[in-house]
């Protein structure tokens, strides 16, 4: 009964009013969009109790991609993709613009970090068996992410437009050209003609800046959706790992789902 309660003190009223005032914008947003609940659903998920540090490699890869995207956008403010001014603009970024050396360095080394983390993440998923049913599709999406990530590396390597960049791209394009049947056509498409020219540079710039990052962002969205939908896998040594008997379940419930041998008794206390 409200009458039975003690009258709140002034400090309690103030505190309550402050809470209401702080929560009001969030409530306003939630009522109109459901975004607050969506973010809670995304971030505050149930995961197995014995998840491992190795399972943070995917988030680390995502962080590396975000670093690449942010530094790339800023580099694009100063970079000029023409044969005459590409290299001078890179020199300007590195030697003259304030902290340009740092942002370019983050983008350059971050590219390698991104690729290395993708491989480590892939190795973790493989060794944990996390690619198995029902997560096969997410493995396939991950392979597409690896491919688009490597294409980012290939197209970005040309942009400094120095001798290393130029000849590495010549060799890379000609390697594509040796693929049977459509290889010569692919090489000529990448080269934007029969010879490397300024069009090759702007083409690689466009692919590197617009098409491939968009594709990667979309694939990351699909990748995360599947992670959230399907949940995080337990490590293979976990008593909760797929295929193990669980004490609280009657064994006949699981007949036909697991192999009959009592192979999963280890790890239980």
């Amino acid at each position: 009964m409200p009458g039975a309660r003690k009258q709140p003190t002034k400090a309690q009223i103030r505190r309550r009013n402050l809470e209401v005032a702080l929560e009001y914008p969030l409530d306003w947003l939630e009522e109109r969009s459901g975004l607050v609940g969506g973010i809670k659903y995304f971030l505050f998920r149930k995961v197995p109790a014995d998840t491992n540090w190795m399972q943070t490699l995917g988030s680390a890869t995502l962080t590396a991609f975000i670093v690449q995207a942010v530094t790339g956008v800023i580099l694009a403010m100063y970079y000029r993709p023409t044969p005459q001014s590409a290299y001078p603009s890179i020199v300007n970024i590195t030697d003259h613009l304030t902290m340009g050396w740092l942002v370019r360095g983050m983008h350059k080394w971050g590219a390698s970090v991104f690729i290395i983390l993708m491989f480590l993440h892939m190795g973790r998923v493989f060794l944990f068996g996390a690619y198995k049913y029902p997560r096969e599709l997410n493995w396939i999406v991950g392979v597409l992410l690896l491919l688009t990530g490597m294409m980012e590396g290939f197209t970005g390597y040309l942009l400094p437009w120095d001798q290393t960049a130029y000849w590495a791209s010549v060799v890379g394009i000609n390697l594509n050209g040796t693929a049977p049947f459509l290889g010569p056509w692919l090489a000529q498409f990448l080269r934007s003609g029969q010879e490397i020219s300024g069009d090759t540079l702007t083409r690689f710039y466009s692919l590197h800046m617009l098409l491939l990052p968009g594709a990667i962002a979309a694939l990351i969205g699909l990748h995360l959706y599947l992670v959230i939908r399907l949940g995080v896998t337990s490590p293979p040594w976990s008593p909760e790992a797929a295929g193990r008997d669980r004490p609280e379940e009657p064994s006949d419930l699981r007949q036909g789902l697991t192999r009959p041998a009592a192979h999963g008794s280890g790890g239980q206390s």
Binding site: W167, T178, P180, P184, A187, Q188, F189, G193, Q194
Partner: protein
């Protein structure tokens, strides 16, 4: 006016809404005539407009309030005979329901619009790489610059308007005269492995610059024992035949013409191998292929159709 509550009395079975009417259109026409009349002739045209407006306003009001003045039309709720479930006969629905027609029209029109947008964009992305591929002729200078038997490393721009990015290099040797025509060996420096620039294996000599119609051409004297690629170690002899390493064929060559006593480079072609040397060489010539692509042997069938080049 009847309250439009959400209760069960607001069902469509009790009475029908007024059917659509054209009177508002007449009313709007009347208003338009009034406005035009105010500009042109307020007394005559304005009055006509006023009359039209009033007449249609009256008709509209009368029509809209008809249901409230007249007795309600009793409409029997539609009934159909229930079909007994599980009598085994599939019930055939309407063959082309309107919703399905609209659905297919929406998807179809969307596809047409998408195609109209995609076709030119995809064409613009793909076709310029393949169509209108041309190569400029390159003037290397007068024949007197090319002494017989002397190798020269010629560096030139295939398209001076494009600038440094079009710089190419060829190894040129004057073979003297064959059948009253000058003979030249002109080898492209593009490695037949993956396209790196091959270098002359031997000392180089004097450098000269030759101003030509195609811009300044640099000529360096060389005495190569062969050509070598710095990238992956491909080696060639002085006729461009592969002698070691990963290349799949001999070095490409330039075709040429002599124009007013000047050496002019034309297009390039690929070579599987060369027998003999100099003016007596027998060159096994093929259409230009990319580096790393076989032009002879069984592997040539991996590259049946080359994209159009010059």
């Amino acid at each position: 006016m009847e309250p439009s509550g959400n209760g069960p009395d607001r069902d469509d079975a009790r009475h029908h809404e007024p059917s659509p009417t054209l009177y508002p259109l007449g009313f709007a026409v009347g208003i338009a005539v009034i406005l035009v009349g105010l500009v042109i002739d307020p007394l005559v045209i304005g009055s006509i407009g006023l009359v039209i407006t009033l007449v249609f306003a009256f008709l509209w009001i009368r029509d809209a309030t008809r249901l409230h003045r007249e007795e309600r039309i009793a409409v029997e709720a539609e009934r159909r005979e229930a079909i007994a479930a599980g009598d085994g006969k599939p019930v055939r629905g309407e063959r082309f329901p309107r919703s399905r027609f609209l659905e297919s029209m929406t998807v179809g029109l969307g596809a047409v619009i998408g195609g109209l947008v995609t076709v030119p964009v995809a064409g613009f992305a793909l076709l310029p790489s393949f169509l209108g591929q041309g190569r400029h002729k390159v003037d290397l200078g007068p024949l007197s610059e090319f002494p017989e038997g002397q190798w020269l490393v010629a560096t030139f721009m295939t398209d001076p308007a494009a600038g440094e990015v079009s710089r190419r290099t060829a190894f040129v040797r004057n073979n003297g005269v064959l059948d009253n025509e000058p003979s030249f060996t002109i080898i492209s420096n593009r490695c037949a492995h993956l396209g790196c620039p091959v270098q002359p294996n031997g000392p180089i000599g004097r450098t000269s610059f030759e101003p030509t119609a195609s811009g300044k051409v640099r000529l360096i004297q060389a005495t190569p024992a062969g050509f070598g690629c710095p990238c992956h170690g491909g080696q060639y002899d002085t006729e461009g035949n592969r002698t070691a390493g990963p290349p799949v064929r001999a070095l490409d060559r330039y075709s040429f013409e002599i124009n007013n006593g000047r050496l002019v480079l034309l297009s390039t072609f690929s070579v599987s191998h060369v027998d003999g040397t100099g003016a007596q060489a027998r060159i096994y010539k093929y259409k230009l292929a990319g580096p790393g692509q076989h032009v002879d042997g069984g592997e040539q069938w991996f590259y049946p159709i080359q994209p159009p080049h010059h």
